[in-house]
Symmetry: C2
Subunit: 493 residues, 2 copies
């Protein structure tokens, strides 16, 4: 047996433990009764401890070293797997167990404090926790090392190979036109009544439609399912087992439907990863920015398009009689109604990225030390006013709205907009192929999925996100396709 084969065996063992943790995590979010929480926390901490020991232990390290010395082509899948495992090992071993434990304790308390602070809309209740988390994040960045600024090290944890400077440049180039489109879209949408899609949509019928749609775009229910949670997500519990969740609003079926299309986009990426490489980098999604490109592509480029609803509105109207009064035009105006609002997760496509630009800026300044935690609310509200022309009435609808910081997730937000840019770029490239475009014009997306499987899913983590984008679309991530898409969707008629 080669050292590489032994290395893969170890990696698969670690992934077996981690995927077991995913089953436990999924159950905790979906079905676990309240009193199960303490024991569940112990089970999860035991598993992550075991996985950490294996992933940083001597056996793994020496096997990796031996595998690195074996001869193989630099551009082979095997070489890519070894490179990624080295990268992950270096990140893992530089963080002392004490810091891991400290972070775990701090986030447990920070999450509780954040929920309380958000409820009461009192930032000072959360501030000392954010301060601690920021300290830990900076310490980790120092231990990991970085080129330009500590934020680099945090960002790279979510987006392999990304540099803060480059993301900032991308976002800066995006901002003026994005702001202009958002304002114009909001202005135009004032013609559309806010409650145009309101009605009575029984949950069982929403579930029926969601399933039909998810199936039709290619989500495989023999290897997955949909459950209900407060916060929708997609998680992989093992090879061949991808779970989506959604939530239902009985007065608006599009909320769960677009949620399901979004999560199904994530899910189809997971289902398209090479099954035989499960547990290895080549069988693992490469980054959040690529993952989000898949969810946004299916939710927005497919799901909110005219061709899609030309096919699906009649079916929806069969299930929901109150839709029968709406023309396709009116329905689409409702689906794509833009408005400046305070909450990111409720934002429409035209204004969403402005929420991200704001967070990226605030986070970067916090991590560099330029912005003190105590000054976050003021900075947030000023930047919000400048972008949206509105001031959040309280911190609950301002800097306290997102869970990410309370979980130590500094450096995460940028990947949402990277996902939007990547999604638009991939979709536009695919549509240029006659067969894909012709099918999509009839709301048939099998050829599109085949293309995504080939260009994105099948690659696993063998390419860096930037490389993957270059190979798939000819260019690294750029704003022009996303801006073009928004302009067409919101300003063209």
């Amino acid at each position: 047996m080669s050292a590489y084969d032994s290395l893969c065996e170890l990696a698969r063992e670690i992934s077996l433990i981690n995927s077991t943790g995913s089953v436990l995590g999924w159950d905790q979010e979906t079905y676990m009764p309240d009193k199960g929480l303490n024991h569940r926390a112990r089970q999860l901490s035991y598993l992550s401890g075991r996985a950490h020991v294996l992933a940083t232990g001597k056996k793994f390290r020496t096997t990796l070293e031996k595998a690195e010395k074996e001869k193989r082509a630099l551009d082979s899948k095997e070489a890519a797997n070894i490179r990624v495992m080295r990268e992950e090992l270096e990140r893992a071993i530089r963080i002392p167990t004490k810091l891991v434990e400290e972070e775990s304790t701090v986030t447990t308390h920070a999450k509780a404090a954040w929920m309380d602070a958000r409820k009461k809309s009192e930032f000072p209740l959360f501030a000392p926790h954010l301060d601690k988390l920021l300290g830990i994040a900076r310490k980790k960045a120092d231990l990991w090392g970085y080129e330009d600024e500590p934020y680099d090290a945090l960002l790279a944890g979510y987006e392999r190979g990304a540099k803060t400077r480059e993301v900032a440049k991308l976002f800066t180039s995006l901002k003026p036109e994005l702001t202009e489109i958002a304002r114009a879209a909001v202005e135009r949408s004032k013609r559309v009544p806010e409650n145009i899609l309101r009605g009575k949509y029984p949950i069982a019928k929403q579930q029926q439609l969601n399933r039909e749609v998810a199936e039709s775009i290619g989500f495989d229910f023999d290897g997955g399912r949909i459950d209900t949670t407060t916060h929708p997500f997609c998680t992989t519990l093992g090879a061949g087992d991808v779970r989506l969740t959604t939530r239902y609003d009985e007065s608006d079926f599009t909320s769960s439907l677009f949620g399901v299309m979004h999560e199904a986009g994530h899910g189809m990426y997971e289902q398209g990863l090479p099954l035989d490489d499960y547990g290895l980098p080549s069988g693992t999604a490469v980054s959040l920015g690529i993952h989000e490109s898949q969810s946004r592509l299916w939710e927005n480029h497919v799901g909110r398009s005219r061709v899609f609803w030309k096919k699906w509105l009649p079916r929806a109207a069969e299930l929901f009689p109150n839709l029968r009064k709406l023309t396709l035009d009116k329905f689409l105006a409702g689906v794509n109604r833009a408005e400046f609002s305070f909450i990111r997760v409720e934002a429409d496509e035209a204004t969403y990225d402005l929420h991200i630009l704001l967070r990226f800026e605030i986070e970067r300044r916090m991590v560099s030390g330029e912005l003190k935690v105590a000054d976050v609310p003021t900075a947030w509200n000023e930047e919000f006013k400048s972008l949206f022309g509105l001031t959040p009435p309280d911190d609950r609808r301002g800097c306290l709205q997102d869970i990410h910081w309370s979980m130590g997730g500094l450096g995460y937000f940028a990947t949402y907009t990277l996902g939007n840019l990547n999604g638009a770029q991939l979709f536009s490239t695919a549509m240029k192929q006659r067969k894909i475009g012709d099918a999509a014009a009839k709301a048939e997306y099998a050829p599109l999925l085949v293309w995504l499987r080939d260009k994105v899913h099948a690659k696993g983590s063998t390419l860096l996100p930037r490389e993957l984008m270059r190979v798939a679309t000819g260019r690294e991530t750029q704003p022009k396709w996303h801006l073009g898409h928004l302009r067409t969707r919101f300003l063209s008629c």
Copy 2:
């Protein structure tokens, strides 16, 4: 830290792994999509391997030895925990890993073969697998050791401290009167139309009633839940997390309701175990025969009684209008209708134990070598004819009906009837207490549950089943209360 404390820490670690396996097993039965099976099997086998290594490893063995040398009172909880851990270690280390693996492979194939054989009603398709499983069971019995006959060693795996000879004696003393009661009950039930309870019972309303009933008898939904599976079961996923399952028949609501009361009986036992001792013998149910006493007690003694339905029939009739035409007498006649039938899991209370007596006899003769596998169908049908006066029309409705043998579960069946005897004996003892009896007469069961918590649940595995019965009821397990109960229920009016 004492050796005993270290031992408990190890035991809790093992139980953390095993309970993780329970989460995975529950998910597999309830929600896992088909394609997740292979990976799930790998996760489960990894976990059971880890648990086995820890439970039989040097660290556990030497810690146990040290703990055994520490001074403590023989009748203390600590001494009981050490005794049970020694017992379990001895059973575990005597079985070589090779045999464990062989059994796992054989049962995987045997289960598939059994399903096929049952479908086609062709015993020869299953016979060679049963032969292999019997060989393994005998080998295990030899490795474990036994006093009188190999069946002892198998039985003790399900019922601590039980002896085949004693169970046989109990069953022999039970048989004549049981047969007589069963015949008389079946004869009387001929007056009751077979379809007396048939109707239309929507699943959502059944779920509503099941939950109300389970809550009212004391099942804690903050620490548990009910899901749907083909084969109902109860499983504990961790301290404070007990899951029940049931199945629904839309034409007969009593099928899921009594199923839920049965599983809730198991569940309340689990919920009543000392929480702080989770993972130790003192926090673990003692045997299947005691477990089944709890499920039968709530399902039959409580659930099929007149006082219970005096209270609950009006509520059921609110949910299910077609019940309004039935008097309490007619309804009870339907609930307690006895009939000779071929399938054990569908059998009524009056005839159920005859199915068990038959299986115990056949199993015991198989294990001793007196009965050849090829002759099982003939022996089964002859014995069935003598007990029930009927001959199974095919092996699907005869010796192929149960899953137990295909899973290697030889020695299991006896615990069902032990459970019936124990349940009747415990119920009758409790009812003699004025407070419990008075409350039960008004269909209030909180005092009964308090008594069961104290006499049964709180004991964990610190007493042998026979000792537990003696302490709780003054006697070891005897048939008279069960027979008395059946006579009252089926022959008294």
